[in-house]
Structure formats: structure tokens, C-alpha cells
Amino acid sequence: MKNKVLITVTRFILPFIIAFSFYIQINGSNAPGGGFQAGVIMASAFMLYSIVFGYRSALTFMPFKALKILAILGIMLYGGTGIACMIMGGEFLNYNMIRNNLTTGQMLGISVIEWGVGLTVFATFSLGYYAFITRGGNEHNID
């Protein structure tokens, strides 16, 4: 797609979308939002990039293998937090065992699992989009 207005606007707006995604991810414990929303917004940024600049250039810096590894990493981060709580002597996902202080362990555990959810959701949505766009078919609608 060779539209100059589209390319310029996309270059202008992409950093803001990515920064908004990170803001929602990090600030999710005090404001609306959280891991799921941050992951979806980040995936939308990648979809916008691959619609405007073509999926081949998007695949150069985020290949399929990296997305698969990210999805598995998110699940393992979430489950690993639960297992770490079990090792420290509590139940599965009982964050109070991470720190002795009453709420510090909870906040730490919640921020870690939100990162896990965000990674998995981002990687899964991007994988679904790339699986559709690289499938073949008549090319003239997009790209």
C-alpha cells in the first residue's frame, strides 16, 4: 500500500498506541485496564503496522517463532507465579506468601500475572491475524 497520508499518520500515531498499551499494562492496578486490554491494544498496533507497511516487514522484527515463544512465556509466567507461591508454602496463586508484609506480596504477584496475561493475549491475537493474512487467496483487498 503506497498511500503517503496513511504512512505519515501511521508513523505519527504508532508510538502513542504502544505507549498507551504500556501505560495500561503498568498502571492497571490503579486505573481501568489491565493485562488483557494492554495486550489487545499492542496487537492492534502490530496489525495497523502490518496493514499499512505489509506483513513481510512486520514479520522481520516479530517472526512467528518469537510470537509462539511469547505466548508460551506468558502462560508460564502466570503458572510459575502460582507454583512459586506453592513452593513458598501457600496455596496455588496465594500471593501473600511472596512477601511477609500484608499487601506488598499481593501487589507484586498481581503485577507479574498481569504481564503474563498481556504477553499471551498480544501473541495470540497477532498469531491469529498473521495466520489469516499469510494464508493466500486473492490479494487485492488488503496489502
Binding site: G28, S29, G33, G74, Q106, T124, F132
Partner: protein, 179 residues
């Protein structure tokens, strides 16, 4: 009073967009209209005081789903007439309309104290989550700590859905052919 007029205005907009979706012949128009429909749904959630749901609806319904549907749209041929399904879709629509209307009558009014969603464990969460969890956002305290196991299950479900897409569609059809 002005909130009531805002509600009515947005609902009329959503209804007219839904009618336009049903009546349009072009699939591309349907996808873009669905995106606009999601934006107005997010506005309704925001008016009802649910910013988390509004954010999710705007991100998933308006951005991600529209992009995925646009990507899947190129596998269709230009002429996709759905006329042979017209009778079946009419039957499904009327059945759904009757069933949903029947259950809408028995729903409690919005924000009612007697509603089943405002009873039970909600009061406990409101009173103790500040001391036990320490987060300012009650939604995230419930989602990630009290109901952490459910959220783990949801994440695994999303991962399994992505896995199914990869297994069905494959990820290296065109890339390998072009090399």
C-alpha cells in the same frame, strides 16, 4: 435527566447501525459498520459506569476483531450472496428476539440493590479488598487475586484458541512458497 436523553440517543444510533449492517450487501461495509457498532457499545458501557468493559470493547471489538475480519475477508470471492439462508436466518432471528425479550422482562432494574449480581460476596469484596489486596482498582483486585484461578483458565483458553487457529490455518503457507 440529561443522561436519560444521552442513553436514548446512543441506543437509537446503535439500532440504526444494526439495521444498516443487516441491510448492506457488501461484506467490507459490514465489517466497518461492525467496528462502528462496537465503538457505540463502548460508549454505552462508559455511560453505565464500566470503564474496564468499555476499554475492552473498544480494543477487541473495534480494533482487533475488525483487523482479523479484514484479513479473513480476502479469502472470499467478490460475489457472496447469502439469499439462500434468508428463511433460516429469519427463523433464528425471531426465536432469539422472543427469547431475549422474555428474559428482559424478568431482569431487575439497572443499579437495583435487589439484583442478584449486587448481593452475596460483592459486599465482602468492597469492604475488605482495600486491606487485603491494597489495589485502587476493585475490578483488578477481584480479577487477579480473588478470582486468580479463573483468570488463569481464561488465559489458557485464549492460548488454546490461538493454537487451534495455527493448527487449522498453518503459519507458513505463502512464506515458504515465495522463497
Amino acid at each position: 435527566m440529561i443522561e436519560r436523553y444521552l442513553d436514548i440517543a446512543v441506543l437509537v444510533l446503535v439500532f440504526s447501525i444494526a439495521v444498516m449492517i443487516v441491510r448492506s450487501k457488501n461484506l467490507f461495509t459490514v465489517v466497518i459498520m461492525g467496528s462502528i457498532f462496537s465503538i457505540f457499545c463502548a460508549l454505552i458501557y462508559l455511560i453505565m459506569g464500566a470503564p474496564d468493559v468499555a476499554l475492552t470493547e473498544a480494543a477487541v471489538g473495534a480494533c482487533a476483531t475488525t483487523c482479523i475480519l479484514l484479513a479473513s475477508l480476502k479469502h472470499f470471492k467478490e460475489d457472496t450472496s447469502l439469499s439462500k439462508w434468508r428463511v433460516i436466518s429469519l427463523i433464528v432471528f425471531i426465536t432469539l428476539f422472543v427469547v431475549l425479550s422474555y428474559f428482559t422482562i424478568s431482569i431487575h432494574p439497572y443499579g437495583s440493590v435487589d439484583a442478584i449480581t449486587n448481593k452475596g460476596v460483592v459486599e465482602y469484596y468492597k469492604q475488605t479488598s482495600g486491606n487485603e489486596i491494597g489495589l485502587l482498582s476493585l475490578v483488578n483486585a477481584i480479577l487477579a487475586s480473588y478470582r486468580g484461578f479463573d483468570t488463569f483458565g481464561e488465559t489458557v483458553v485464549i492460548f488454546a484458541a490461538g493454537l487451534c487457529i495455527i493448527l487449522i490455518l498453518g503459519t507458513k503457507n505463502k512464506i515458504n512458497n515465495e522463497k
